[in-house]
Symmetry: C2
Subunit: 191 residues, 2 copies
């Protein structure tokens, strides 16, 4: 929980009352590799803050193919926000790719905290603005960069964790086949 | 300006003081078709609220090809948020595809308004959450839907305005060639 409190305090002043309330609605957990935290089709009422490890959110299309939306590493939030804000069943499944340390929140309680402690609004606005910009960049990259350039950016962004993520998940994040990704990796290795 | 005030009031109570301040920092404009409001490479300090017409934001890649990030129609905001939040020159160009009615804001003044009138934070949070979710959906659609399915969604989302947007801009939004889009349109017409 310290990591999250530190992250908030680095951005805004946090009252002791708000800090205590945040702790009271949080559940710290260690979840084993392979755990499913949210499953496509189910009701979503949880949001997770990652303090260690790596999780991914993905959807399965009509033909059974997986498409990865997001990898969450230390200091990232992860949930199915499409379901939460659209008030619909989960579009996404969230699984732990490694043993992970997470802080679990009830989505309604976390949202209600912003009404109870409006001092937190600028922190949440900062989070949303950063997420919004990073998604816009991802769309532009998807439109204008080659698969090899997108893979380079992926390695930059996910650093050491990238080595722990299986190839087929990375391919499903980049929107390319596993074979294309293998060819890109061979080219990089032969440089 | 009435449209924007109405939109805000439908989501949160707005004090007369905040309303007057918002009006004082706004500039209503009618901009002719073809106008460039932001140009790639320049400093960005403006944000636009659209009350009529259609604008698009796009970037030009190394080979000179255009990629459309966003079409903004009535009740949408548009700017280069990557530049504003990353404090960097514009990645995007914003042009008017039709004569458009816009309300222009200075980005810093609009941002400062949230500090001056924290009552507006939940409204802005709602906007950002909706934008975040719509971008996530777009990425998932890009990963899992066929070009024809994405074009169908485009027509649904942009309705009548879609007919005023040239084919090559729609293709550059969908991430396909103009020829592919033409084939899709022929198939639809022959259905």
């Amino acid at each position: 929980m310290e990591d999250l409190i530190k992250k908030i305090k680095s951005s805004i002043p946090l009252s002791l009352e708000a800090e205590e309330y945040l702790i009271s609605i949080s559940k710290e957990k260690i979840v084993p590799k392979g755990s499913i935290l949210i499953r496509q089709g189910q009701i979503v009422n949880k949001i997770f803050f990652v303090t260690g490890g790596c999780l991914r959110s993905y959807c399965i299309d009509k033909s059974g193919k997986e498409h990865t939306l997001h990898f969450a590493i230390k200091d990232n939030w992860i949930s199915d926000y499409i379901a939460i804000h659209g008030d619909e069943p989960a579009t996404l499944t969230i699984e732990c790719l490694t043993e992970s340390n997470i802080i679990e929140f009830n989505a309604k309680e976390l949202d209600g905290m912003l009404t109870r402690f409006p001092e937190l609004e600028p922190f949440q606005r900062g989070n949303l603005e950063r997420l919004f910009v990073s998604l816009q960049k991802r769309i532009l990259n998807q439109l204008q960069l080659s698969a090899a350039e997108r893979y380079d950016l992926f390695l930059e962004q996910y650093g050491d964790v990238a080595r722990q993520i299986p190839n087929y998940h990375i391919a499903s994040f980049l929107g390319i086949t596993q074979e294309s990704l293998s060819r890109i990796r061979v080219k990089i290795a032969n440089k």
